[in-house]
Symmetry: C2
Subunit: 200 residues, 2 copies
């Protein structure tokens, strides 16, 4: 019995980007699939009283340093975007729309969005950029832009975000492996151990 | 040139306990020594607006689960103390006093305090317990208890805490390796990589 790994991420989260880049190979090595769930950390922070890591006194300077070092540790390119963090409502909605059509391609779309934002300083809160990246992967940019103003897509993201919070998700990345919650890209080694040993 | 690793920790911090248990073997494998610096997270939280992890909505339940899982991951015993967190002013002062006399033995004292608190549910905010544990390692319990009411020891902890904050320390454990800051026991693999490669 091989249940999928649930992966929650915010498109404006550097650690979410690292999680997105790393989780699929880990899952594949252990015969697992991954379900990707975009979330909005802003809604979470209203409950936890949290704030974006780089905006917190003392933590902010460390955060920007740690983002870059973690990227080197994972072997990923990274440059702090000039506009950071950004609102990711439309980015997350675009992913849901893409995921409806083609799940594997939607994951490639998510990674392309992350790379555009954290490698190329492309503002992924701008729907024109989101549509252009979608088109580069073969999605229909016009249909995507029309869908982004659709009320049902907004409602689906809101409902998915509430479901994530109800499940205990409070950060990005956040993973569930066989129901076990793991917060942070720094828990990937524990996820590997969990998958290898069937829990520990 | 082999500079010591600076290790900052709060005695009420489970992740600080994991850091304390793990850092010395890592340092030794790379020919490094470690300087131990007790801090008071309460003073840090006043600046960062933080709060003890287990008291935060959503995060609290995860925290208690993560403490236990991390302990299993590191091969350490762990049981959430019935009184948690506790004030660690006197515990930290006792460490400074012990460190003045015998640095290697003071580290054993710190580990014994951590184990008493996180394995045996001994309240280490109680100076009688701190003195008993000190005596078990050969320290003079009477002199320790007298020193704990000494103003100069209080002032030294306050000054050391301010120096730590001025250096950017905002959590437990917190490490500096060749000036490079690392927050969290989950950064130990990055510290290992840093020590192996001389930075990355």
């Amino acid at each position: 019995l091989s249940t999928p790994i649930d992966f929650y991420f915010d498109f404006s989260s550097p650690y979410g980007y690292f999680g997105a880049a790393m989780i699929e190979p880990i899952a594949a090595r252990h015969g697992r699939t991954v379900r990707w769930h975009p979330i909005l950390l802003g809604a979470v922070f209203k409950i936890t009283g949290g704030a974006p890591f780089p905006t917190i006194p003392l933590k902010g300077e460390y955060a920007n340093h740690d983002f870059a070092r973690c990227a080197r540790y994972y072997g990923l390119r990274f440059a702090l975007p000039s506009k950071f963090p950004v609102a990711t409502h439309n980015t997350a909605r675009a992913f849901i729309w893409a995921d409806d059509q083609n799940e594997p391609l939607a994951k490639q779309f998510a990674l392309a969005l992350y790379r555009a934002y954290f490698e190329e300083d492309v503002d992924i809160s701008d729907t024109a950029n989101v549509a252009r990246i979608a088109a580069s992967l073969g999605f229909d940019a016009k249909r995507l832009l029309a869908a982004l103003s659709d009320l049902s897509l907004k409602e689906r993201l809101r409902a998915q975000n509430e479901a994530a919070i109800a499940r205990g998700v409070f950060g990005s990345p956040f993973f569930f492996v066989d129901g076990e919650p793991f917060w942070g890209s720094d828990r990937l080694p524990q996820i590997e151990k969990w998958l290898t040993e069937g829990g520990f």
